[in-house]
């Protein structure tokens, strides 16, 4: 069969299809490029930061090389060759002022290295030729510590799993990875709490959102559209506005406490502590995320024909049976969609826990922010971020399987 211009129809159709595909790609390309450059590249950069360790081998190349022959298990401080290499490396590093950067990097693994390098850095110019080992040992006791040397040796590669180990409260002391002592464990605990709080918030959202969504889905359109505004207004209101509203309500001198004291339910000296703890975080975040639960629930419930429940009742089911056996199962996809949505938004929350969370209501995000802007342990911050990202992606994938990203509806 031939097309109008004489080419075989099959080829002509194939060409048309190719052209169509190309046109689609051309339209998508600018955004794809934009998102890859402004968003995906940063995420990849973060992945990279969580494992890269080039600072150590780049700053101390000779020392790293010389340390290859040294065995930490020997129980002896490395020999003259290593110290001579160290002297050469440090002299260059001090001039470039990079020795303190390496020191801060290694200090994350072994406290004390920062001052060891800083103090030695001042004296390294005065080193005399030969007999470096003795000169360094005179300079600072730290150079005689096996722990210091094995730390340098362990972190001499271009890449390290150290940040990830730290991010799950483990360390590699030379005999393989093991958990840190109980009182130093924090991240697994924080991940656990973030998870637990997110589940709690998801659950309270479901508990509060289900009846509302049901009401909205069954009321006449005019009324439900009106009531829908009460759901959409919070959804469209700035996160900080809502957080400050909760601070106004919950704080000790706040509206709720004042009201309770005025009514006489509370004594002025026993005001409720509802903020700067988990209660504050849960209340404020439930309010903030509730629309994310109601909207998907509503759109699913909208599609459930009321005749099913009526049929069940006319066949003799009680109200409860009709709801539980007939209506509820049909609303489960909405529950799944809403719950996963709320959960993935909640698990990465930062602002609200930071402002109302106090000490026991903070999330892993707050710790990530701390490492980026305060402690400057960027590698550890990145590793924590990568783990959190992994968790979110798993749930996102589930969401995609259940609901499909194409079916996300807004407003």
């Amino acid at each position: 069969m031939l097309a109008a211009d004489g080419t075989p129809l099959k080829a002509s159709l194939a060409r048309a299809l190719r052209r169509q595909k190309l046109r689609a790609l051309m339209l998508i390309a600018p955004l794809l490029l934009f998102v890859v450059l402004t968003f995906i590249a940063p995420i990849v950069d973060m992945l990279w930061r969580s494992i890269e360790n080039q600072l150590v081998p780049e700053t101390l190349p000779r020392t790293v090389e010389a340390l290859k022959d040294w065995n930490p298990k020997s129980g002896e401080v490395p020999g003259e060759a290593v110290f001579a290499a160290l002297a050469a490396d440090l002299q260059i590093a001090v001039k470039a002022k990079t020795h303190t950067r390496v020191a801060s990097r290694l200090n994350y693994e072994q406290p004390g290295i920062a001052s060891l390098f800083r103090q030695s850095g001042r004296k390294v110019k005065r080193l005399e030729e030969g007999n470096y080992r003795e000169q360094f040992l005179d300079m600072h006791d730290g150079w005689g510590s096996i722990a210091v040397w094995s730390t340098i040796k362990r972190f001499s590669g271009d890449y390290t799993a150290g940040y990830f180990l730290n991010a799950v409260d483990m360390e590699n002391t030379g005999d393989g990875a093991q958990f840190k002592s109980e009182d130093q464990q924090i991240y697994l605990f924080l991940f656990g709490r973030t998870f637990l709080l997110s589940v709690t918030i998801t659950f309270t959202c479901l508990l509060l959102g289900y009846p509302l969504a049901w009401l909205l889905a069954t009321l006449p359109v005019r009324t439900s559209n009106l009531l829908m505004i009460l759901v959409l207004l919070p959804f469209w209101t700035s996160l900080l506005v809502r957080t400050s509203a909760w601070i106004v309500l919950l704080q000790q001198e706040g509206v709720i406490n004042d009201t309770l004291v005025t009514i006489g339910i509370l004594d002025d000296n026993n005001r409720l502590q509802m903020m700067f703890n988990q209660t504050g975080t849960i209340i404020a975040m439930t309010h903030i995320l509730l629309p994310f639960m109601i909207l998907p629930l509503y759109s699913v419930m909208k599609t459930i024909p009321p005749s099913y429940v009526r049929a069940a009742k006319s066949l003799g089911a009680t109200d409860w049976t009709a709801f539980w056996r007939v209506y509820f199962p049909q609303s489960v996809p909405g529950i799944g969609a809403g719950a996963i949505l709320v959960f993935i938004v909640a698990i990465g929350y930062y602002i609200t826990p930071e402002l109302v969370g106090g000490t026991d209501g903070i999330f892993i995000s707050n710790r990530i922010a701390y490492h980026i802007s305060s402690s400057l342990n960027w590698g550890l911050g990145a590793a924590l971020g990568v783990i959190l990202l992994g968790v979110v992606l798993i749930f996102y994938w589930t969401y995609d399987k259940i609901v499909g990203i194409d079916n996300v509806k807004l407003g």
């Binding site: 299809l17 169509q20 595909k21 689609a24 339209l27 998508i28 600018p30 955004l31 794809l32 934009f34 998102v35 890859v36 402004t38 968003f39 995906i40 590249a41 940063p42 995420i43 990849v44 950069d45 973060m46 930061r49 009846p211 509302l212 069954t218 009460l230 207004l233 919070p234 469209w236 700035s238 996160l239 900080l240 506005v241 809502r242 509203a245 601070i247 106004v248 309500l249 001198e253 004042d258 309010h287 930062y350 402002l355 995000s365 990530i368 922010a369 980026i372 911050g381 990145a382 971020g385 959190l388 990202l389 979110v392 992606l393 995609d400 990203i405 194409d406 996300v408 807004l410 407003g411």
Partner: protein, 284 residues
């Protein structure tokens, strides 16, 4: 159960009204926190709570001083100025890239559609703190950290998924035979696009733009990391305010922002109805 049937038993009646009451309480829970700040923003005192005078509805208990502070304080004015400078630019970028891509994505044959969609939607899925951290690291490397364009690009990236979703949604209901009809009648593809497709997807584009705008306008985590003092936006100023000196000026700002949200919501609702009406008229 739109209404109570006349044959309902007493138990059903009690439950019906209890349920309505619970729902009313839940609606109050949703809306009260937003409403409570409005009267408080007119507080004549520097308190975060209702004073006796306010409760007695004494006009002396109320004043506009926190609004005056917002309008005269340079910190707040700079913040407002920066927000107004950043959000429209970010919106413009999100909308232009996003609309093109949405049109591309709704063609019938798109290779690697799943993967592409996942990448394009990812800024909406990845927790903000992770986006902020990654952007902070990466933008530092390329010299965009602490610059106007750094914040704008970041916000534009965060806004694009919303544009894609809203525009694709309007295109799903789009009747392809209209394009063919236009072509049959002799219109070239560009003309077809502007005369036939464009008017139909405009509501989607505008609501996408509103989403992108509000995303940038309300965003605080990313700007907190990426910005420097000359990109300090309103939400950032509010965040510092809440953390450091809690002044009722924040409530005045909050009230203004709530008003803006109401305006946005009204526009969106109007657009939604318009597009439903228009689509209802499309010949099937």
């Amino acid at each position: 159960m739109a209404g109570l049937p006349p044959y309902a038993s007493t138990g059903q009646r009690v439950w019906y009204y209890t349920f309505r009451f619970i729902c009313a309480l839940l609606f109050l829970f949703l809306i009260i926190p937003i409403l409570v700040i409005i009267p408080l923003s007119f507080n004549a005192e520097d308190f975060f709570t209702f004073t006796k005078k306010m409760l007695a509805l004494d006009p002396e208990g109320y004043s506009l001083k926190h609004y005056r502070d917002f309008l005269t304080n340079t910190d707040w004015q700079n913040a407002l100025y920066n927000s107004v400078r950043i959000a429209p630019m970010a919106t413009l970028l999100s909308v232009s890239f996003g609309t093109l891509a949405a049109i591309g994505l709704s063609q019938s044959h798109v290779p690697f559609r799943g993967v592409i969609m996942a990448i394009l939607i990812s800024p909406m899925i990845v927790p903000l703190i992770i986006s902020a951290a990654g952007m902070y690291f990466f933008y530092s490397r390329i010299g965009l950290q602490g610059t106007y364009w750094g914040v704008v690009l970041a916000h534009a990236a965060l806004g694009t998924p919303f544009v894609i979703i809203t525009v694709t949604a309007t295109l799903v209901g789009f009747d392809k035979s209209l394009v063919r009809a236009a072509a049959n009648l002799g219109a070239d593809p560009v003309r077809t696009f502007f005369k036939v497709q464009m008017p139909l997807i405009v509501p989607g584009v505008i609501s996408g733009a509103l989403f992108a705008f509000i995303t940038s306008f309300d965003e605080v985590v990313v700007v907190l990391f990426l910005g420097s003092a000359s990109q300090k936006t309103l939400p950032w100023q509010m965040f510092t305010g809440l953390r450091e000196q809690i002044s009722p000026t924040i409530l005045a700002v909050a009230t203004i922002l709530v008003t803006i949200s109401i305006l946005l919501l009204t526009t969106l609702e109007y657009l939604r109805r318009r597009s439903e009406r228009l689509r209802g008229m499309t010949p099937q």
